[in-house]
């Protein structure tokens, strides 16, 4: 009698447990759905750029949904058994200002970080890795992974938005997979800035510069400080006749007297260049004609005094 009662009680208890579990699943499932946290979708896709036959381009993209973001950092890894990292491109990236931009040949995995002034909302590219493939594998995309990604909201507080790694739709891929072909255009025009701050770089004058390149991405910057003004046929001339020094912004000027002409050269991954000069206002005493006037004036005064008193 007691045994059968115990069995019945056990059955009732199990039934109650199952019902309670189902109830919890339904309640929490619904609650989770109704309290859905906004996320930013991130994804990798293989590009269709017409490069060499053994090239394989992987681009990291994001879809912000209803969010607006302004800072992104992350780490991408790849399997070196199948892929050799040839170069990295920021062409058509939503990020114009980079805090950390990896270079090919640097250690694996590759880390990056940058910001979007004013924020960004929509679907966009972040960074592209250009690999040389090894072997006959047709699905090289599976050998590249997003190891870490952090996206910050454009809210003045820098709050982190949850991200979801997804497989992008064909529509998104076709939207972002911009066929640039052979890049024959120089980087975008820009204007270097001269600055000085007592609390920075020992109070010395420094140069600031940044630009973008839509075709292949900016590869390097060079700075030249010259006592003579360059006579460039145009801003994209390769022959400038001055010694260029590879540089990063901020660049501490070597000539702290600021008497040199300063030029910045941006070079994209395809080798196109753009040279721009610092918009400098020379002090009046730095012009030769000022000293000619001074000398003539002094001689005139001497001559007048001489005639008057001799």
């Amino acid at each position: 009698m007691n045994k059968s009662l115990n069995k019945k009680l056990k059955k009732v208890a199990i039934c109650r447990l199952i019902i309670a579990s189902l109830f919890l699943v339904v309640v929490f499932g619904t609650a989770r759905q109704s309290l859905a946290v906004p996320t930013v979708d991130v994804f990798l896709f293989a590009g269709s750029q017409e490069l060499a036959s053994d090239d394989f381009v992987v681009t990291l993209g994001l879809d912000t949904g209803s969010e607006r973001v302004n800072a992104v950092s992350g780490v991408l890894s790849y399997d070196a058994t199948y892929l050799d990292l040839d170069s990295i491109s920021n062409a058509n990236s939503i990020i114009p200002l980079w805090l950390e931009f990896p270079r090919a040949g640097s250690s694996t995995p590759v880390s990056f970080a940058g910001i979007v002034p004013g924020g960004f909302g929509g679907t966009g590219r972040i960074i592209s890795l250009i690999f040389k493939t090894k072997g006959e594998d047709q699905d090289f995309l599976k050998h590249v992974q997003i190891k870490k990604i952090e996206v910050l909201r454009n809210d003045g507080l820098g709050q982190i938005i949850p991200t979801a790694i997804i497989s992008p739709s064909a529509q998104i891929v076709s939207q972002l997979d911009v066929l640039t072909g052979l890049d024959q255009l120089p980087p975008e025009d820009f204007q270097p800035l001269l600055s000085q701050d007592n609390q920075f770089l020992d109070g010395q004058s420094y140069l600031i510069f940044n630009t973008t390149d839509k075709g292949s991405g900016v590869a390097k910057y060079f700075v030249a400080e010259s006592k003579t003004k360059l006579k460039l046929k145009d801003q994209t001339s390769l022959e400038t006749g001055v010694a260029w020094q590879e540089a990063q912004s901020p660049y501490r000027l070597q000539d702290q007297s600021l008497s040199s002409y300063v030029y910045v050269k941006a070079v994209d991954r395809a080798g196109n260049v753009l040279v721009v000069g610092l918009d400098q206002e020379k002090k009046f005493y730095q012009f030769w004609w000022f000293w000619i006037i001074i000398i003539i004036s002094a001689l005139s005064v001497c001559f007048w005094w001489g005639r008057k008193f001799l």
């Binding site: 949904g65 209803s66 607006r68 302004n70 800072a71 950092s73 062409a91 058509n92 990236s93 939503i94 114009p96 200002l97 805090l99 950390e100 970080a113 910001i115 979007v116 002034p117 004013g118 924020g119 960004f120 909302g121 929509g122 966009g124 590219r125 952090e150 910050l152 909201r153 454009n154 809210d155 003045g156 507080l157 820098g158 939207q175 911009v178 640039t180 024959q184 255009l185 120089p186 975008e188 820009f190 800035l193 600055s195 701050d197 609390q199 920075f200 770089l201 420094y206 600031i208 940044n210 630009t211 973008t212 839509k214 075709g215 145009d234 994209t236 912004s249 901020p250 196109n272």
Partner: protein
């Protein structure tokens, strides 16, 4: 009769219930703005004893108790004409108080002002209307639906005229040789919308200032940039009001093809904002003011434990003022931000102005009212490439005591320099 009396009695207010502390609308309905089409809706309530002949009010508004301003920003539409087609893209409509866009409807017509044929674009923020006649001007609007399918916002109308793609003459061999280092057939983008009357409007391309213009007395502006190479851009627009206060940059991602001409219209720059005191004595008033479009409505959101919403109207110069009574505000820090409405257009929220509720009044200094709240590391009243470069120099380097003090004062103040600090800088960017 008795039953009917008892049924309706809870809804009746008698003369002696004017001082009741439990006045209620038994089955109040909160409807989003724009839903009601009633021309004779009224709510009769008694707030004092009757006194015949004493009221001289001509425009009396009473707002108290439960205030709810459900609003959603108006999409800004970019339009680009192609061969027998027009490409449209628009910014996401963002809602307030949990109101989100449930979808977008593209309205198109060959007549300005419609009637529009409607196409459901789902949640996508772009659409290509094909099968159009070249040479005919078409007009488009984007309507925003809420989750229930009701229209809750409509963009300003944009227009575009599809043109046939010119066919290249065959056998010519093209230009060939020559390097091709200048953008031939450069693209053009035009931005138009509302800022502040006679204000300076700046256009940014990928974060860098590329053009400025001046808005008209009606706050409308028009600014363009040409000779752009094909590619993806993130353009931004901001404005400086008559007192020198800068608005936040509103950005618009645009992908350009060679020779394309794109119009981004319906931009509505968020109002500027400032407060007259950095600290207000609890119970005193604090003035919240700024500038927006002339004769617009400004909604001010005060962020405290219980968020407060207030409304003000702008004058002919676009200026608005709201005196906030701090009786109900708790001690400590608060922020205020504002957004503007004109006709059926709504701006996004603008920058925040911070203040404290304390035990004494401390006036805000002029610099605080004008300069960016954070991110200005070199104290030049701007957040730009110089500030970014200074911060970027210290990224992943040991910070000096001098820079730590700067990080505490101008960034998030956690004693570290990381992506959060740069995000703050990007938000307050002035260029």
């Amino acid at each position: 009769m008795l039953a009917v009396f008892f049924l309706i009695s809870p809804c009746l207010g008698l003369a002696d219930s004017a001082s009741s502390a439990s006045y209620q609308i038994p089955e109040g309905v909160i409807a989003p703005a724009g839903y009601s089409t009633s021309s004779n809706f009224k709510l009769d309530g008694l707030i004092s004893q009757f006194s015949i002949g004493q009221s001289q009010a001509t425009d009396f508004i009473l707002r108290s108790g439960l205030l709810y301003f459900p609003i959603i920003s108006t999409p800004v539409v970019s339009v680009s004409a192609g061969d027998s087609q027009v490409s449209l893209s628009w910014t996401t409509a963002t809602g307030l108080l949990g109101w989100n866009a449930g979808g977008y409807i593209v309205g198109w017509s060959s007549a300005s002002g419609g009637p529009y044929s409607l196409i459901d674009a789902g949640l996508s923020t772009s659409y290509v209307k094909t099968s159009l006649s070249n040479g005919t001007t078409y007009y488009f609007v984007i309507k925003v639906k809420d989750a229930l399918g009701n229209y809750v916002a409509t963009s300003t109308q944009v227009s575009a005229t599809p043109v046939a793609t010119p066919v290249s003459p065959g056998g010519g061999g093209g230009s060939g040789g020559g390097g091709g280092t200048t953008p031939s057939g450069g693209a053009r983008v035009v931005f138009s919308g509302r800022a502040f009357p006679l204000s300076s409007v700046s256009l940014f391309k990928d974060g860098q200032l590329v053009a400025t213009t001046k808005a008209g007395p009606d706050a409308n502006f028009y600014i363009s940039i040409a000779n752009l190479v094909a590619g993806a851009y993130n353009f931004g627009v901001n404005s400086i009001d008559s007192a020198g206060r800068q608005s936040l940059i509103q950005t618009f991602p645009v992908t350009l093809t060679e020779g394309a001409s794109i119009l981004v219209s319906g931009i509505f720059i968020a109002p500027s904002i400032a407060v007259d005191k950095q600290q207000v004595k609890q119970g005193d008033n604090i003035a919240i003011f700024g500038q927006s479009v002339p004769s617009g409505k400004v909604t001010i959101a005060v962020n405290s434990d219980n968020q407060i919403f207030a409304q003000a109207v702008t004058d002919k110069s676009g200026a608005y003022l709201y005196n906030l009574d701090t009786v109900g505000l708790e001690m400590g820090g608060h922020t205020a931000k504002s957004k503007a409405t004109l006709a059926n257009e709504i701006s996004p929220f603008g920058p925040t102005a911070g203040f404290k509720v304390g035990t004494e009044n401390i006036l805000a200094d002029a610099k605080t009212q004008v300069c960016p709240g954070r991110g200005d590391l070199n104290d030049d009243c701007k957040v730009n490439l110089v500030d970014f470069s200074i911060a970027a120099y210290w990224y992943k380097r040991p910070l000096t005591a001098t820079f730590l003090a700067l990080e505490k004062a101008k960034l998030n103040g956690d004693g570290k320099l990381n992506l959060t600090d740069f995000s703050i800088m990007a938000y307050y960017w002035t260029g």
